[in-house]
């Protein structure tokens, strides 16, 4: 496409009163090689009359449009010109609303912003989607329990082919073991018959669903749309292509043998899972002598909410024990069920179930810390507890004890194994070898052939739950196209798992639809650009393969990275990581940003600071400060980046060699409660820039000239100070000695 430029400046919203437009035109003309007279100025560019000016030019062939007006966050419908390259230069928020009017500083700031906008369009080009061939839109579901079955049905009903893989010989998982279910429908206070068997029937008779029982995933290779999955079934292996995966491998009860302090191991101490099985068979009896149990004690949080065992709440055990107390009472009206709880957790409508279940003469409840379960003769047991509602330490006899054991996600074993492996690896190859030899390898679920490991990464402190730690975007994992559902994600009830599965199924569908169009998935779900590395210049340093938060880059046998584009989320972390600067997007590259930086004129007597701002949070925060008409430091030039992860160290050199005095990175919080939309971007930037000293040393510059500051979108009111503080520090260091060279 041959670019024909059109430059437009709006003088409304105070721009005209803050900046000398004639001077700005001249400056812009020089860069854009458009005659100053042909730069169009309008007093309200977003008005129908103003837009008409642009549209007329488009008719005349203008296809590359630079608009110096308000923030791109507003008037997006007005300034939407499909088919054209459009660059919005934020003269209103970054200049008119935040600067002293008509000063030299302000003028030069506006000049720089216009210039950078023009350069960006000169260097950039229109995106063209990269659509791979032979894509599959089949959804693979791993796990045939409530979540997996529900996900399969939802996807099939939406018109997609589904392959369901279940490890066991029968479908149903944990749900098939239940005698009754806690309520899932209005009036939310009655036990319900298990529905799993109807769902199994529905799945097995659905023509869109292929069910593979007694099957395991041996290998998952490729990328969304092109995932080649090898499934082992009865000793045979078969490879099939799928588009996306829903991982619903479920959970296991916590290993009760670790609960000796609660009496497990004694004949009449059982788990809640054993209780379900017993209730399903008939009477509630004592394992020791087969006699009907008359005094049944339920101990809640058996393992859960316990720093020695599971530091989380397993979410459904309170409901389960209330339900099982009802079993005890229904099967024998002379029996009592005693529930010892830390807190009764029946959130939402489940409260109505609690209310109904407790209203029974023989269901006895107390808050308690159970301190021991001891023999009381005749295989009966004494429950000892303190901090009870009864006002004292108590000891009560039971003839059967049920431990409400918590959940452990099916992903935990492999996660622990892999974490151990990583630790061993850090100690060297010998330690790694010793680890592999000495540690029994658990069954893996996905067996990905990815460079970054065979399973879904889980976060530190997530106890094996495959969770991405987003509140707003529940299904985001770090493996594009693989979505976790049910108890591998969070402890949840069966009804919640079914609901959760529906969401995961939708995300899987979006993924196959987006790769078919060659565009990204969340959070840049509209983006048709993609990283296009110039591979001949690659040195195989592998920084990109290591750093990509989504494991999108594998290595071939020779160790050369190669991109699995459909796994890519377009954050640009690889672009930031690459020391050879070979990774580019059509509208975002090391060169584009570098050129923008280099275009900034820095006279000897002027301080110039560059702020690389994350466009997701930091940029809107600056806009918000502007809306409040807070003053921004006129020495700072803000350049948006896709994610701080995309900042390349070469920009440091670009900036400082050009005489820029300081470089500030403004991005999302990282760490345990990270807010980075690409999970690791800002953290990686921080890591990279902690090593920037080397670069600066080479230039004989102070490392304090470069700083990363974490900011949340809500902290807009602190941004002016953050920038001022940084400018002050740099001013204290003194001007960049390269200035004017």
């Amino acid at each position: 496409m041959e670019k024909k430029f059109g430059v437009y400046i709006c003088t409304g919203c105070g721009i005209g009163e803050t900046v000398n437009i004639e001077k700005l035109k001249k400056k812009s003309a020089r860069v854009s090689k458009i005659e100053a007279d042909n730069i169009r100025v309008h007093q309200i560019l977003c008005s129908p009359e103003g837009l008409e000016v642009i549209k007329n030019d488009i008719k005349e062939g203008v296809n590359t449009i630079i608009i110096g007006a308000c923030s791109p966050r507003v008037k997006f419908e007005e300034f939407d010109f499909p088919g054209a390259i459009v660059e919005r230069v934020n003269l209103r928020e970054f200049v008119a609303w935040t600067q002293e009017p008509m000063t030299d500083d302000t003028q030069s700031l506006a000049d720089d912003y216009m210039m950078m906008g023009i350069i960006k369009t000169q260097k950039g080009s229109l995106p063209e989607p990269n659509i791979l061939q032979d894509l599959s839109n089949t959804i693979l579901v791993i796990g045939g329990g409530m979540a997996g079955l529900s996900a399969s049905l939802e996807a099939a009903k939406a018109g997609y082919q589904v392959v369901l893989v279940e490890k066991e010989a029968e479908l149903g998982g944990m749900a098939a073991k239940l005698y009754k279910e806690t309520p899932r429908q209005y009036p939310y206070d009655q036990l319900e018959e298990p529905r799993i068997f109807n769902i199994i029937k529905e799945v097995e008779s659905n023509p869109n669903i292929k069910v593979l029982k007694s099957s395991m995933i041996e290998k998952t290779d490729g990328q969304p749309g092109l995932l080649d999955v090898t499934i082992r079934n009865n000793g045979n292996s078969e490879t099939m292509r799928v588009g996306a995966v829903i991982m619903a491998a479920g959970w296991k009860p916590y290993d009760a043998s670790k609960l000796g302090h609660l009496g497990y191991g004694k004949p009449n101490v059982i788990t809640s899972v054993q209780m379900e099985e017993m209730a399903k068979k008939g009477k509630i009896t004592r394992p020791s002598d087969g006699k009907e149990a008359k005094k049944v004690a339920f101990i809640q949080c058996a393992g859960s909410r316990d720093s020695n065992h599971l530091p989380y709440c397993s979410s459904f055990c309170c409901g389960t024990s209330l339900k099982q107390a009802k079993y005890v009472r229904e099967k024998n009206e002379d029996a009592i069920a005693m529930i010892f709880y830390k807190d009764i957790r029946t959130p939402g409508q489940t409260e109505l179930f609690y209310k109904n279940m407790q209203n029974d003469a023989g269901v006895l409840l107390t808050k308690a810390e159970v301190t021991g379960v001891n023999d009381a003769g005749n295989d009966n047991l004494y429950i000892e507890a303190e901090n009870t509602l009864l006002g004292e330490k108590i000891k009560v006899e039971a003839d059967l004890v049920v431990l409400a054991t918590g959940i452990v996600p099916a992903t935990r074993a492999s996660q622990e194994y892999l974490d151990g492996l990583t630790e061993a690896q850090k100690k060297g190859d010998d330690a790694k070898k010793a680890y592999i030899e000495s540690t029994p390898k658990p069954e893996f679920i996905l067996n990905l052939t990815y460079r970054q490991g065979p399973e879904l990464p889980s976060l530190e402190g997530a106890y094996g739950f495959a969770d991405s730690n987003f509140i707003c975007f529940q299904y985001e994992t770090r493996r594009t196209g693989i979505y976790a559902a049910g108890c591998v994600r969070q402890p949840m009830t069966m009804s919640d798992a079914a609901e959760d599965a529906a969401g995961a199924a939708l995300k899987a569908i979006q993924c196959v639809e987006h790769v078919a169009k060659g565009i990204a998935v969340h959070p840049r779900a509209w983006d048709a650009t993609f990283p296009d590395p110039l591979m001949i210049k690659c040195t195989s340093c592998k920084r990109c393969t290591e750093e990509c938060p989504f494991g999108a880059i594998d290595e071939d046998e020779k160790g050369t990275p190669f991109y699995r584009i459909n796994r890519c989320r377009r954050c640009g972390t690889c672009m930031g990581a690459c020391p050879e600067r070979i990774v580019s997007f059509k509208d975002f590259s090391v060169d584009i940003v570098g050129s923008m930086i280099k275009s900034i004129e820095s006279e000897e007597d002027e301080f110039r600071i560059i702020v690389l701002a994350c466009e997701n949070d930091a940029y809107p925060a600056i806009d918000s400060a502007a809306i409040k008409r807070q003053r921004l430091n006129p020495k700072a030039r803000i350049i948006p980046v896709r994610c701080l992860g995309s900042t390349n160290l070469v920009w440091v050199t670009d900036a400082f060699s050009k005489g820029i005095d300081g470089l500030m990175l403004l991005g999302c919080k990282y760490g345990e409660n990270y807010q980075c939309h690409f999970v690791k971007g800002s953290e990686l930037a921080n890591y990279r820039f902690s090593k920037v000293k080397e670069t600066l040393d080479k230039l004989q510059l102070e490392s304090e000239r470069c700083q990363l500051v974490q900011v949340a979108i809500s902290e807009y009111d602190q941004i002016p100070k953050m920038i001022n503080d940084f400018v002050e520090r740099v001013e204290e260091i003194g001007p960049n000695p390269f200035k004017g060279m």
Partner: protein, 372 residues
Amino acid sequence: MAEATVIKPDLDFVKGVIEGGGDSLKKCYQCATCTVVCNVTPEDHPFPRKEMVWAQWGLKEKFAGNPDVWLCHQCNDCTAHCPRGAKPGEVLGAIRKQTIKQYSSPSFLANLVSSKGLVWLVFLIPALLLGAILSVDGTFIPNEEEIKFSYFAPTLTIQAVFVPALTFGLLVGVLGLMKFWADMKKAAGVTSGDLGGSISATAKEILSHVKFKSCGVSADRFTSHFLVFYSFVMLGIATALGVLYIDIMHMESPFRFGYGTPVKIFGLIGAIGLLAGVFLMISNRFKNAEKVGIGSYFDWLLITIVGVIMASGILSWVMRVAGIAGVAYTVYFIHLVFVLSLFLYLPYSKLAHMFYRSAAICFLKYSGREKK
């Protein structure tokens, strides 16, 4: 650290409370709103939250010698504000009923009075008893023209039946009270105290009805209980004076027809007061029914007995004045049956609270717990 107390849940006790008017017992989820809104509870050992959980667990031993359930004046603020509809006020009433049952012997009488299903028997027994006695002395069908109740039930016969009945009731009640007192001392580990002072302070508290004044939702309970209480006292005095006049001083009955003696007027005021008090109690219960519940069988049994006594007393008098002999005598008979019931069942009915509540209030002062 203190040794653990072995507790023994008793399902039958739980069922007993549930069936005895505490059917909402198991709804309690121990939020303790009740304790906070209660204006009569002590701060230190507050009720009724802990009583609710004890009762839920069927810990009947916790109620032996427990004065707290008797400190409750059934204001029902707890019930009105209970977020779960557990009606602690009603449950405590049911627990008190269990305690009354426990302390009053013989137990068959206690069971009789507390069982809703046996309500017919409750009144049939005194009716048969009285009927038999009146048949034996031959006055059952008076043949005089003038309507005079002493023709039907001669004073002597009445005294021969009612004095022993009242004595029996009081005796059983006092025996229960003594057992209860001993249990309270044992439970609290109290061995001595100022009994005389405690009794006089208790009397002051009861006579002033001071606790009732702190009721919230059913603040009008003060008026109704006050009226009923003092009317009863007045009627008791009037009756005693009657006995004094007739039997000891051998004077004419102060209640004789057509005369307005001071004793009679005094009694009449008491009667009107009682009628008004009972009427207020009933109307308050209906008025507050939505907030605090209508009350249990046990409550209504007592209200019914007192109510019928009053209604039948007045109606029989009206009939006598109107000269309708058949109705007058029949109603009078009913009147006597209910008075007899009141006396006989004194230690088994809700009226027994006069023993236990007084004892509990007294014990609090005696043990020194109240001062805290």
